[in-house]
Amino acid sequence: MASISVESGLILSAVLFGLGLIGVLARRNILFILLSIEIMLNAAGLAFVVAGSAWQDESPTVAASAAATEPTTSVGGYKESTVPQADGQVMFFFVLTMAAAEVSVGLALVLRMHSQAGSLDADALSRMRG
């Protein structure tokens, strides 16, 4: 089976993260800043999944040794065989939840900023300095 190297997946994730970082630094519209933060979070989650699938290749030996040393309980054996495979995707799940929470609060702040400052320019809030 053809295999994708870990490096290519991580390079893709780093490129997406860098594009999001450029968006955060270069754009002044706060809606675009939120979009770029979403891009960065998504790239981080992709890196988790890539690392999880790479770590999975070495996990059968670990699971086999764990099952060989402790074959008594069926529940423990089930956990040992399933847990090391899904870790990266579990972390992606948490990143997804965090992104949903962040974007809801962020968009509420955008609406509030539009009603008070009258624009979506992030520099319009610079009066708060000092």
């Binding site: 290519s8 997406l16 495979q85």
Partner: protein
């Protein structure tokens, strides 16, 4: 499956570049949806069908709908009609449509050729993901639910104060 990965990666990088460089928010949203769909294809190729589905539903569905709602709310008036006529020109949606067409061709290739092809590692079934979520990571799931509750209350609070202050200034201050 390697070619599927690399084509999807190229689409993701290209559409993300278009997101960062667009001036119009709706154009950027279209390209961001394409980028998220491409990342979903990559996740499927990497052996995570469940997280690929979650990526499409939560990211490309729910979060992007939130952005669309906010853009709708912020563009009330005559300007919206003029902008809508301007946005519906073919030059604006032909780029995301072409990239999405490439992704659809990849989907047809995956479904027709190798149904359970995984490029690297093994495929993690939704049952294994659920067993891991509610096994050793159950505390994290509880913390995620608390985080979502806090976000719900916070978003409601911020939105409510905005509407009351828009309607009546003194009334909003009294309710606070």
């Amino acid at each position: 499956m390697e070619t599927v990965f690399y084509i999807s990666a190229a689409i993701a990088v290209l559409s993300t570049l278009m997101v960062v460089t667009r001036r119009n928010a709706v154009h950027a949203l279209l390209y961001l949806i394409v980028s998220l769909l491409a990342v979903a294809v990559i996740l499927f190729v990497l052996g995570g069908p469940m997280v690929a589905v979650l990526e499409v539903i939560v990211y490309a569905g729910a979060i992007m709908v939130l952005f669309v709602f906010v853009i709708i709310v912020l563009n009330i008036g005559h300007e919206a009609v003029r902008q809508e006529r301007q946005w519906l020109r073919p030059g604006n949606w032909i780029g995301p449509a072409l990239l999405t067409g490439v992704l659809a061709a990849e989907l047809v290739y995956i479904l027709a050729g190798r149904a359970a092809g995984v490029a690297s590692g093994e495929q993690v079934s939704p049952a294994a993901l659920g067993a891991s979520l509610f096994g050793p990571y159950v505390l994290g799931v509880e913390m995620a639910s608390l985080l979502l509750l806090a976000a719900l209350v916070g978003a409601y609070h911020l939105g409510r104060r905005t509407t009351t202050r828009q309607e009546q200034g003194s009334d909003g201050i009294d309710k606070r």
